[in-house]
Amino acid sequence: MEPRMKSGVGVGFLYAYVHFVTEVVCFYALNACFGSGAGLWIAFLIYDLLAFVPQAPLGYLADKRQSIPFGLIGLVLLAAGLSLFYVTSVPYLPLVVLCLGNCCTHISGAEATLRTANGKLAPSAIFVAGGSFGVITGKLLYLANVPFWALILLCLSAVVFVLYGDSFRTEANARSNIACKAFSYHRKTIGAAAVIVLCVFVVAVRGYMGYGIPTSWKKTLLETVLFFCAMGLGKGLGGVLADRFGVRRTAIASTVLALPFLLAGDQLILVSLIGVLLFSMTMSITLAVLVSVLPRHPGLAFGLTTIGLFCGTAPIFFFRFTTVFANSVLIAILTVVCVIALFCAIGKDEKHG
């Protein structure tokens, strides 16, 4: 049977919307229900922990049990978590429900986009990009005093996207008994465990840099919107360019090129945005390399990237560099280490290298 969507790009867009809705709901709730100070601090820490880290075990479960409708469960949990915020005085229970919903929709998106990708990076890159736009939209909707039931409707609207996206995943599963056998981007001369460690390290650095890069220019809401848009575009473009020009070439070029833009962009918005766009490009590449060493476990591979993201963002809650110089030195060192890690983990580009 001829597959309806060979490239899986369409599935990427379907799940980009689901990812967008997920982040809108979560960030609306976080801003609306936790105020400021210690409450917001611990809420964001718990959110990062419970939305990111359980994705590896959940991903493994999804790999083994394809019949579990993680996408639908996720949307139900998101709607339930959001509703619970308004009927209970203890906000931590709804927060946990919301986080688990977030996990489920992410895992469902990863499974669908990776299994239908035929070894391409664009579908998962497009899926991942949707989240950046959702983060800032959630905050904007909270600031605009949009009622919470409107967010429930938004959740419901994503049900169709999940069902349609999952139908392509079912087709892809029927075509092959190895979920992602077309992914083969890792360096074959080093062990799979070493590739995993290197990729998770690169993801952690990117997680840190997402918050730690010097952006003195980011003072207004519009500037924050631009920051998240550049991040989302970068994540999406990374996959498209990697498919076009080669995975290793794109990974190393974008990481190296991002450095001067990030360091020189502390006061210059356009320069900084180019840097943010470039450094976000490795997102789908590290995922694709992890899937290459775990082709039967795409959900677990995706979960490993989110553990890396948590490890990178967690220090931001406790420590901060107070001078641009010290921060810049750290970013420069981390970039060099990342380039070496990417060079060691990614195999030579076969089509273009």
């Binding site: 611990i42 880290v53 590896a56 493994y60 799979a192 060493v293 039967r296 809650f317 406790f318 107070t322």
Partner: protein, 50 residues
């Protein structure tokens, strides 16, 4: 001027002590489970490839 700042002081830490240590415990448990699953998955990948 110091280059580096710790963002939480002892007063703040005492305010969030219980959820903070629960978070540390949950994180450790989840990472341990994930490492176990990765080892298991790598073994399965190798066995299937052979």
């Amino acid at each position: 001027m110091a280059d580096f700042a710790v963002l939480i002081d002892s007063a703040f830490l005492s305010e969030i002590r219980a959820p903070f240590w629960i978070a540390v415990g949950v994180f450790s448990a989840l990472v341990a489970v994930s490492v176990f699953l990765v080892i298991r998955a790598l073994k399965a990948e190798k066995d299937d490839a052979d």
